[in-house]
């Protein structure tokens, strides 16, 4: 047996090492900040997006949670750069399962991330609030 913890795949290890996309965006025109989850429950995510026209041009995350959640939030900041509001509304957590080798016991945490992504769509600048 190697020293690597088999619970975590290469992509999780890579993103935990680099923390790509971690941070925040200064408040300003087109910047939207949303939160999902509850730290008391072990999972909390804040996403900050700069939206220019009909596209997300920059995305940052902050996360409190397990390595899979942090890696997923990092991955989303890459994946959804350039996304439209419709892309955000349709984004589904399940594409992360294979990419990050997420075990079923943690699927609920990915749903929290999806909640945050959908909240970005609901708070799209100039958009009417969704009832979803």
């Amino acid at each position: 047996m190697t020293g690597l913890d088999p619970r975590y795949g290469a992509e999780v290890r890579r993103r935990m090492a680099t923390m790509s996309g971690a941070g925040d965006l200064a408040a300003g025109p087109g910047v939207v900040r949303v939160a999902a989850g509850d730290r008391e429950q072990g999972t909390e995510i804040v996403l900050a997006a700069r939206i220019d026209g009909d596209r997300v041009v920059e995305l940052r995350f902050r996360a409190f949670g397990c390595p899979h959640l942090i890696a997923a939030a990092s991955w989303v900041t890459d994946r959804l750069r350039g996304a439209s509001r419709t892309d955000l509304e349709r984004w589904d957590w399940q594409e992360l399962v294979t990419t990050l080798e997420v075990p079923p016991a943690k699927f609920g945490r990915l749903l929290t991330l999806q909640d945050a992504v959908r909240a970005l769509a609901r708070n799209w600048p100039g958009a009417l609030r969704s009832t979803v």
Binding site: D5, M16, C66
Partner: protein
């Protein structure tokens, strides 16, 4: 150890090379390998002599006589034999037991089994510092109470219970007193006579002995009744059938002999290292020590670190072998029931590390651990929403 700093000595310890050497003398054809029950021939008698020498060594470590020691496979079996065996034997006297919520699962699960059989168990809630006051025990006693079970040293937070005070109040009332001493025996003074302990569970692997062997030390005068858990060859006075594993038993005897001989010096050295570890970690904001500050075993430090999630913290510490505040010995990330019993919420229980030091822990390893934990906490807090900075 392959570049990893081992700070999980409360889970198990590496076997002391001196112990290994003695064990090796009981394995192959040139050594004392024979069945110690086969005393009809010389090799069997030699093996029996080794077993009896080890029995005396273990007994001496806890102020007992050799005749009081029954070999088992470990503390879990010893706890089960004590609780189930005594409860079954004394059932006609009463069916009530008292224990605490922070006992090891070997005790709690045995108590749950007794509840399924119709016994009643009172689970005392320790104070936030982890201590169970003797007055709490006294208040829980009933005319039908047959036994009190309280651990010597808690395996998660390291607090040391005043087993002597509880033992005396039990003895005055004719109630059996069982102590799980897996974490404390060989590291702290313990005396079954002075502390009025009727049943004492011991293990070898927490004191640099081998896994797979333990002992139950039981009161002889007046003789205690126990219903055995295992039936077979009638070894150990019929209380624990099964061929005695000479090499394991010899290892346990050696481990306790060595531990007791160096107890004072080792306790002082490890306490100093533990205090250095705590001093280093306490520089971080939002860090607290769990359990009573002074009434504790030398080698266990439990710290809760606010603003970090436990699994991620462990992920960031690949060079450290430490335990988290999640349930030990399982693959589930359930928050520790011990920490929850002390009033920790689930989140804080999951943000807890148990660092446990042993005979081979060095100052440089402690420094390394402080550095690694400080860096990991800083990294995780930096990506967490709001909150603390390292």
């Amino acid at each position: 150890m392959n570049g990893v700093v081992y700070l999980d000595n409360a889970a198990t310890t590496p076997v002391d090379p001196r112990v290994v050497e003695e064990m090796l003398g009981c394995l192959d054809a040139t050594g004392d390998f024979a069945n110690p029950s086969a005393t009809g021939h010389a090799p069997g008698r030699r093996a029996r002599a080794r077993v009896e020498q080890a029995r005396a060594e273990v007994a001496a470590a806890v102020g007992a006589s050799a005749a009081q020691v029954i070999w088992t496979s470990g503390a879990t079996e010893a706890d089960n034999l004590a609780l189930l065996g005594a409860a079954h034997f004394y059932r006609s006297r009463g069916q009530h037991l008292v224990t605490s919520r922070t006992e090891h699962p070997a005790v709690l699960d045995a108590c749950r089994q007794l509840e399924r059989e119709g016994f009643e168990v009172t689970y005392l809630k320790p104070a936030p510092d982890g201590l169970v006051e003797p007055a709490q025990v006294e208040a829980a006693l009933r005319p039908e109470t047959i036994m009190v079970s309280l651990m010597h040293v808690n395996n998660e937070i390291g607090v040391r219970q005043d087993v002597g005070a509880v033992g005396r109040l039990c003895r005055e009332r004719g109630i059996l007193f069982h102590v799980d001493a897996a974490q404390g025996a060989g590291k702290l003074p313990l005396d079954v006579e002075k502390d009025c302990i009727d049943l004492l569970a011991l293990t070898a692997h927490k004191v640099h002995g081998p896994k797979g062997v333990g002992a139950l030390c039981l009161r002889l005068e007046p003789r205690l009744g126990l219903v055995p858990l295992l039936y077979g060859g009638g070894q150990e006075r019929g209380l624990r059938s099964g061929t005695l594993p000479t090499h394991q038993i010899v290892g346990m005897g050696a481990a306790y002999r060595i531990a007791v001989a160096g107890m004072e010096e080792e306790s002082s050295r490890i306490s100093t290292l533990r205090d250095l570890l705590w001093t280093g970690l306490a520089r971080l904001p939002g860090v607290r020590m769990n359990g009573h500050a002074t009434q504790r075993a030398p080698g266990i430090l439990s710290v809760t670190i606010d603003g970090v999630e436990g699994e991620s913290l462990l992920f960031e510490l690949p060079g450290l072998a430490v335990a988290s505040g999640s349930a030990c010995a399982t693959t589930h990330a359930e928050p520790s029931y011990v920490l929850r019993a002390l009033g920790h919420g689930d989140r804080l229980a999951q943000s807890t590390l148990r660092l446990s030091l042993g005979r081979f822990t060095t100052r440089s390893e402690v420094d390394c651990a402080v550095g690694a934990i400080t860096a990991a906490v800083g990294k995780l807090r930096a990506v967490a929403p709001g909150g603390l900075v390292a």
